[in-house]
Symmetry: D2
Subunit: 363 residues, 4 copies
């Protein structure tokens, strides 16, 4: 039985969007090679311990902070709020939740002002800020536009053992669910939740957590993503392409998952849809639908289900990972005991059913 | 020891390009749905037993003939030759080779005139023709242009047990090798051979044969191929997507393999390179190079190696399939006993080598 | 001296986005050919007098209503509001402004419920509604996806004589300015204003008005727009391509302007940028900057400046057109007495300056 | 009455394709900025007077030589021939034609061996060579692939006063006509001629000549060309975009014309069609067809018709320019006395005809 996070009596901060991730990396030079030389993110500022990066169309100081540290992990999931007062609101909100809260008027990273960081009820280090340094928005700097250009930060994806618990907590915080994956027993495997008018600012993936599943940047068009694959091939690091490219069922976006030198997972993502209407229809997928994760039925590699990055507490120590107790999406869909269908009517529901299965995907 | 096909004393016909494939299908209505409704090939003519199809930029009568029959198979691999006299040359050439040869002034299919069909030394039904009916070239009929439009026939791909034997025979016939896959023991696993100025008009894939591995049509751009996947997802036939989309190492083309209702394999292909210079460099790939078949290191599904279509003799009976005696590409590269690398220098050559392998691809 | 529209004391309705346009057309069959056969908009419903159309990713009943009538004109610019109560708010808001207001519980068009229509202070027929019928969102119906698919309604564009007056009125209504075009004398030529998180839901173009300048639909990628041009060429209606394709300076979107059978202007549009942050930087362009309207410096055809569609009052009669008194953008930038530059520093400001001008564009 | 070039009694050399252009530029640093920094051509070799450039998929030493000189001009149009003996054939062929011929065993440029250069009957400096240094073919070097990457040299375009005379001479030399533009009086305005299996290796444009109209490089996809425009906008050199982007009627290619610092015209070009069959249908366009030069009916700027680069004789002196005596395409199609139609049936043939004309293009 899920032990829900209580709804605070004070109003939630008005969150605008996911804004940046702070990532601890163990070898800053190698990470720079990956994020700057390979992916072409733009350096706003850097010193020997930290690199501040932004995407092509960003006007705030950074979307990604790479900080050198002993253990690869995510140190902060930062959201921008609508007004300076919303930082106060965030502080009050989490205090009422009984969370550990830290407020810094001067911010936790360069370029960002008054901020609050919390260890949230799911164990994630969340940050809320309004004040931020504006920098050159490169939108029309096509002289700097690479063939695989990353133009926006799109979303975070968090692994948590109890998805309904996390979902309720995030809905209280003002997020709205665009899509989810369930089964007929009522188990929820994942949920996609947004503040800005896209499919998500963050998603919850059921699994051992709290962990960072991935951070996603978007490109303008699909060929930009293909170029990133091609470039990784040319650099002979195709083994860092973990999954894709493909078309998601959930979100309808064209996607790619790649791994940075520490194993942090980066998604490259393009062309989901508008979700800004108050009654935007929520899409629920059957966990056994073979097209939910890849619209073309291509298999999800096991590592995508099992691997993720540690997250840090406010002292910079890794949060302990709690095991998911409910059924895992991998177990119910992959391998000999799993079950998936392409055409629902073809499927008998038994492992021997062959109609509607992806040919050649069995191992 | 390879038993080579002798080089005839008479000149080979001057082959222009691969021109059409005649395919026997068991359910014409289902095949029409696949090739016309799904893939959008254009019907030049049809009757209750046969459909003549062409691609968007084609001006000859057809690139694909679907003929209703009891056993799914390839009935003819037809090449266009440069002059009417080259049909005579083809007849003389194969007669000297001792092959069974049939000449029909009125052609074997509608729209095609004087032709010769042979059972070639590898067991394939080859056709050579010059005379052909010209039809409307749809090149600028953008009112008929679908999002996944197939604009040209690109190539055939044939499975044959002894690749060097087939290669020598095709080189005598005037084909030139653009790329091949070998190992350090001198085994050849596949070869790509062209007459027109692309990477191939046909390729030889080592395996049990003679069989048709696939026929390939090209699109203008990569997004056209992605649309075909998306459409198959929408039609809930994603289980007919066998492999891809991806970027080939060999040929550098962006590709997709799908299966028609009889299991005939169709490749959708775009953006290989110019090969028309007399000294066009031949590219040789190491069979253990994990990027040779997919530049991004994505795995080749086993069915792609093992499944293929029967081919017919001139009486319309399936040719017996002869087992390949040499090592198979699948055996040496897939699974526990196979070996592949991404970065050659990382690889110790032993099955335990982990550097440079595709993460998550092991099963 | 601008006679500003007063700010009402009651709160403005919370507008979500531009939602649909009602267009009067004189020949419904011809218009159907244009919007359905050529552009591929999807018919939700139709009868002998009216066609209700929606874009690929839309889930509300329609984005465009074509209604047969004697005079080609725009009958309503409809916005969706956040709650049913916002319709009340709209009614009160415009009543206080002294505008003519009509409320219909059953809506003004099929598929839409309780709505209010007004003759706004600029003379435009604005509609506000919340209740709307949900219909199938075609987002993943790639079996219906055409090569030039229109996936969303993006914005309206209105011609009005006094842009600062219109801007102040729309800002009061909750719109925020993303970009504008001015000159050093303080004249404003155009302004782009948004509620959803794109560059605009509507724009104000300085000129004789009130008139509809255009309605814009977006595509996923740039090639989709090129296909629409190609298809219009194939149909031999290239004379209905008025301007483009090109890259806008303002908005950074890739664009095309075409004309429907009545001369209503349609823009096809893709890839502007995110504007959802509260401090999204406003971009101001110099009217003499040759790249403001087309980033590549291609000339704007005169008709684009001078032609626009009439708008109707609530009785269905055309609103009288009031002449713009300030300088026109065309006059100050096109032809012998106009002035434009590509590189500001090159330009002497005199008509004889040749550096930085578009070669070949002089006529 | 055309004074045709006689057909030599000796066989023509077997030309494979257009291979490189030697261009004299007046400011090497500025030209380097244009071809290397802007367009991303790859430097094979360079010294203080000369830069040798190649496209992404090229394996011969260069496709473009930039040589510093006092007068901007084209110094050589170089074709590759099939065998070393074809250089002898070329020498004999032009000697019989009475042309000035120069043979250099060591070649005229670095990287190229035994070559013959001639002043051809039309006054152009043609070169023929077989021997050439192979260099790294960058086809899969996606780490070097820019967003606007030029992947192949596609063709030359030459201005000559008498197109039928030039056409007959080039047909004798083995070129085949893919398309041409004529009028009902039998005047030929332009012809496209190929050796490789594309629409052209060179084209003849009727006008004052001999002059170089342009050299064309191809990209993989249409968005690559759009990126070049976008980049020129970002660099504030949009005034060097002369015409386009657009879709050609002739050739069906997507195109762009830009001007280098000396005014040499470069076309960027993609997606014409296969012409390798012996009976490839020739397409003839009516000079009054408004879609022949731009499929979307966009106007051709006057400079595109009138401006072109000088060509040099074998002493490096500019060839005198001879005036075209026949009607000019510009005069018969542009401006008050010209005539064009979009739909042939609409056109009365009189200047007052308004149906089927491009709206907004009149000046």
């Amino acid at each position: 039985m899920t032990n829900f996070v209580p709804t605070p009596s004070v109003p939630a901060p008005d969150i605008v969007r996911c804004a940046y991730l702070e990532l601890v990396v163990t070898d800053l030079a190698k990470s720079r090679e990956f994020y700057v030389d390979l992916l072409g993110l733009h350096v706003t500022e850097e010193d020997e311990n930290t690199i501040y990066l932004r995407s092509f169309e960003e006007f705030i100081h950074h979307n990604l902070v790479l900080r050198k540290g002993p253990v690869a992990a995510a140190a902060a999931f930062a959201y921008r709020v609508r007004t300076p007062e919303d930082v106060d609101a965030a502080e009050a909100y989490y205090k009422e939740l009984g969370c550990r809260v830290e407020r810094r008027k001067e911010g936790f990273t360069k370029g960002v002002g008054d901020s609050v960081r919390v260890e949230d009820p799911l164990g994630f280090p969340y940050e809320f800020f309004y004040e931020v340094e504006h920098v050159e928005r490169l939108t029309q700097r096509y002289d700097l536009y690479s063939a695989g250009e990353l133009v926006r930060l799109d979303h975070f994806n968090q692994v948590t053992p109890d998805v309904p618990r996390g979902r309720k907590y995030l809905e209280d915080l003002g997020f709205r669910v665009s899509e989810d994956i369930k089964d007929s027993d009522g188990v929820t495997y994942a949920a996609w939740m947004h503040r800005k008018q896209t499919v998500h600012d963050t998603a919850l993936t059921g699994g051992n957590g709290p962990r960072l599943h991935h951070i996603a940047f978007s490109t303008h068009e699909k060929h930009n993503i293909i170029q990133i694959c091609d470039k990784m091939g040319a650099l002979r690091i195709s083994d860092r392409i973990e999954r894709g490219p493909g078309r998601h069922g959930v979100s309808n976006a064209f996607y790619l998952y790649i791994l940075d030198p520490d194993g942090h997972r980066i998604e490259i993502y393009t062309q989901d849809y508008y979700t800004g209407d108050p009654d935007n229809p929520t899409v629920t997928w059957d966990v056994h639908d073979n097209q939910r994760r890849d619209w073309w039925g291509n298999p999800v590699v096991p590592s995508w289900y099992t691997e993720a990055s540690l997250v840090l507490d406010l002292d910079g120590k890794p949060q302990p990972v709690i095991v998911r107790e409910e059924k895992s999406e991998m177990a119910v869909t992959v391998g000999a005991d799993g079950f998936s269908y392409t055409r629902k009517d073809d499927a008998s529901g038994e492992p021997t059913a062959v109609e509607g299965f992806k040919l050649g995907a069995q191992v």
